[in-house]
């Protein structure tokens, strides 16, 4: 299927991350509206205490990030910057205080999960990360 692409994989992966210390300050739920041709795919991404929950579909949110699938794809894979997409107008962000959170929101699109954990210099988190991974391996994701 055309739409079973890197954007889908990204949101799947997002829900399996466990604790993301660099999202501790983002206590908010976002609705990601991904536009492609005739259809719009939606994901709800809730972050609480650095833990991410992802739900497919719409719902109430503190902020809404909306853009073409192509643009999401480029941002997720680091080919384009999310700030540039916003200034260019290919992506829109709405919701009260949404822009104040924007820097933290863009962290959802950060690089590979392993590097994310490693670049916070805290051995306690590395240990926690190993537990997360072990937990995920034994879980039902897949």
């Amino acid at each position: 299927m055309v739409h079973s692409d890197r954007v889908e994989e990204f949101f799947d992966e997002l829900g399996r991350r466990g604790h993301e210390p660099l999202l501790d300050r983002l206590n908010a739920t976002g609705r990601f509206e991904v536009l492609g041709g005739e259809r719009t795919d939606e994901w709800l991404v809730a972050v609480r205490g650095g833990y991410i929950t992802v739900t497919r579909g719409g719902g109430d949110a503190d902020y809404v990030l909306r853009g073409a699938r192509h643009d999401f794809d480029r941002i997720i894979h680091g080919d384009a910057g999310s700030v540039a997409a916003l200034v260019r107008g290919t992506m829109t962000l709405s919701g009260s205080n949404a822009h104040v959170r924007f820097g933290l929101i863009t962290r959802l699109f950060a690089g590979a999960p392993d590097s994310r954990r490693v670049w916070v210099d805290d051995p306690r988190l590395v240990a926690e990360g190993q537990q997360d991974r072990e937990g995920a391996a034994g879980g039902t994701h897949g």
Partner: protein, 694 residues
């Protein structure tokens, strides 16, 4: 009054208008005149005529930074005749600007007037103005419901300038015309508004609105001035410079949407009216005892936009603090990497330095806890990503070969790092001051880890690493036969041996070994090769690339000197610190109290006045911050627990300074400095302070 009838600039944060003395704008593609907001020129043409005649300036009044009043009369400036008409053009920043026109008829006859304003915009990106590039999108002009809309669209990137008038006006796509009949002694008034807009595909105008219009701007300035410490002293120029600095810092504050109603300093007019990591951090440090709120916003915004991945176009790494964020077209289409651009080697350690210093002043432990992970990521960057040669030093080498910065230290021009004989070193380059910042960052982060993050093991490790770095640095950078530290190590680990002001920052960071080495560094800084009489030159006079008006290779930078003086104080060289403070503060008199970005490195005795650097930015945030840091240094202000310690050392020529209501974790505190006795005066420095220009 403006100093001469040249260009007139008014500003509000990162919005500014540059016009001629009559208020007209006739921009060429390459000069920074016009109305600019968020790195885009919204007006490049704005010319007033009355009955087809241009007007010329009698005088300009720019009492407030956000407002100018032009007194103008019809006719050419060269042939003066008694004007029957006079025009007052009052311009105030407001989402663009607002212009109130008043025409007075001094004659005995009634007159019919046709008042015409020609308007146009090239919507140039600031980088296009800097580098003269062409446009890729479409410009348009159309009249709609009593307004003229000038627009520019490139795909979804849409910017408009909307011109409206308070009274009846005829609009066409090149401007507007107002007509009136004026009786003898009559007066006519009209207000024209120019609003700059960022249009989203939804039609929403996303231009941030903050302190709009005269009343808001005035209240905002009053509030800032009331909240800052009061200065009393017996040398009036210092009081003038202090006030000018606070007003300029107020003027340069801006509030992009990402700052959530808080503000941070734009770096400098006209080229750097945006968020800069290094400039924001250093300005916030300078201003901590005066405007501590700048530090809080700067830390939060820089933390939020910390790098998250490897990206060569943006020179981004995980944990790296940004260099520059822009909001114009070239950034939006990634023709330029400023979305944000991360090519800086010093902003990351300096971020940690500011975080610690901010807590020591403010007691804001919440922020230190909130950004713990960003701080840890920054420390990780220093060890993992910045150590490009594996020698344990912070080094830089751009990965964006097209538009990235070659030199990623504060001296970021291409020729700023050189050997004594003028050769340029290879990459990666590890400049000395970055090692100092990294050392200081680790020492300070250790305190934060122990006191706020509950991680004593990490604190121990950081302290051990800092001590190792200091030992390594003093071995590898020290040039024994010259008695100074190398400016840098090149990619092969060779000492880049030019004598530069960078070694002054080492004292501030504490990485210099006490005793012989510190004495030698101070000897160089205060020697004739480096010290011009006004301040310390960026590069020593005897170096191959020395040029007294070379941007980073011989000029004197007030901000650079303010950190050097702070460093001298740290190591106990009080007199030398006071001498530098006096030299730079004295120079401010020649610039109406407003220190420019840089001035010429000529010997003071030779020129007797500081020679203006041709394209210096002014006002510039860290130049405005310099007098504040000099005050801190002269007074010897240092937080100690919940108290403020005062340990003054004044330069010759100033006998007393009082700084009242210094904000901090102690509430408000006062600092008094008085020259102690006649005996001291005898041994004081040569009087350095002049009676001023003229």
């Amino acid at each position: 009054m403006s100093e001469a009838l040249g260009q007139v600039t008014i500003l509000d944060g990162n919005s500014f208008v540059v016009s001629d003395a009559a208020g007209d704008i006739e921009a060429t593609p390459t000069d920074p005149t016009g109305l600019f907001l968020y790195d885009t020129r919204y007006l490049s043409h704005w010319v007033l005529t009355v009955n087809d005649e241009r007007l010329h300036a009698l005088s300009v009044d720019d009492v407030q930074y956000f407002e100018a009043r032009y007194f103008i009369v019809p006719g050419e400036a060269t042939v003066y005749r008694d004007a029957q008409l006079s025009v007052v053009r009052q311009r105030t920043m407001r989402n663009g600007f607002e212009e109130e026109l008043t025409i007075l008829n001094h004659g005995e006859d009634a007159v019919d007037l046709v008042v015409r304003v020609d308007a146009g915009s090239d919507f140039a990106d600031l980088f296009e103005v800097k580098d003269a590039q062409g446009k890729k999108g479409k410009r348009y002009a159309r009249v709609e419901d009593d307004q003229l809309i000038l627009g520019y669209q490139r795909q979804t990137f849409h910017r408009t300038t909307v011109v409206t008038a308070s009274g009846p006006a005829r609009f066409d796509d090149r401007g507007l015309t107002l007509t009136t009949h004026l009786e003898p002694r009559g007066r006519w008034m009209a207000t024209i508004r120019v609003e700059a807009q960022i249009l989203l595909p939804t039609g929403e105008n996303a231009m941030p609105r903050w302190r709009q219009g005269h009343d808001h701007l005035e209240r905002d300035l009053d509030a800032l001035m009331r909240s800052t410490p009061k200065l009393e002293c017996d040398w009036q120029p210092l009081k003038d410079t202090y006030r000018r600095s606070l007003v300029d810092l107020a003027a340069l504050r801006f509030s992009p949407r990402i700052a959530g109603g808080q503000s941070l300093p734009a770096a400098g007019l006209p080229w750097f009216m945006s968020v800069f990591g290094r400039d924001s951090i250093l300005t916030s440090l300078q201003a901590l005892p005066f405007v501590p709120s700048l530090a809080a916003t700067t830390l939060r915004v820089l933390a939020d936009f910390q790098g998250t991945r490897r990206n060569d176009h943006r020179d981004e790494d995980p944990g790296r603090i940004l260099h520059e964020m822009r909001f114009g077209e070239s950034m939006a289409f990634e023709e330029r990497p400023h979305a944000p651009y991360y090519g800086t080697a010093d902003a990351t350690p300096l971020f940690l330095v500011l975080l610690d210093e901010y807590e020591r002043w403010s007691g804001d432990a919440d922020l230190v806890r909130a950004v713990e992970y960003e701080a840890r990521a920054a420390l990780k960057w220093i060890d993992e990503y910045a150590d490009l040669t594996g020698m344990g030093y912070v080094a830089y080498q751009r990965r964006n070969l097209e538009t990235g910065l070659e030199n990623q230290c504060w001296k970021d021009s291409w020729d700023s790092v050189s050997f004594r004989d003028g050769r340029l070193p290879g990459f990666p380059r590890a400049t000395c001051e970055c090692q100092g910042y990294a050392y200081d960052a680790k020492v300070r982060a250790a305190r934060l880890a122990r006191q706020f993050w509950g991680d004593p093991d990490y604190a121990d490790r950081l302290e051990r690493e800092a001590a190792e770095l200091k030992a390594r640095f003093n071995r590898d950078f020290w040039i024994a036969d010259r008695g100074c530290y190398a400016l840098a190590l090149d990619g092969g680990g060779n000492q880049v041996d030019a004598l530069s002001s960078n070694i002054g920052h080492l004292l501030w960071s504490g990485i210099v070994e006490e005793g012989e080495k510190a004495d030698a560094v101070v000897g160089h800084l205060m020697g004739t090769e480096m010290f011009s009489g006004w301040g310390v030159r960026t590069l020593g006079e005897d170096e191959g690339r020395y040029n007294p008006i070379g941007y980073h290779v011989g000029t004197v930078w007030p901000f650079d000197n303010s950190f050097i003086a702070w460093g001298l104080r740290r190591y106990g060289y009080k007199e030398q610190a006071a001498r530098i403070a006096a030299g730079i503060l004295d120079s401010a008199q020649f610039f109406n109290g407003r220190l420019p970005e840089a001035f010429g490195g000529y010997e003071r005795a030779l020129t007797r006045y500081p020679v203006r650097y041709p394209t210096a930015c002014s006002p510039q945030a860290w130049s405005s911050g310099a007098p504040l840091l000099f005050l801190r240094t002269m007074l010897g202000l240092e937080p100690s627990g919940d108290n403020l310690v005062v340990n003054p050392a004044l330069p010759g020529g100033i006998t007393h300074i009082e700084l009242l209501d210094i904000p901090g974790r102690w509430g408000k505190a006062d600092a008094f400095a008085r020259e102690r006795s006649e005996a001291d005066t005898q041994h004081a420095l040569h009087p350095q302070l002049s009676a001023g220009p003229g």
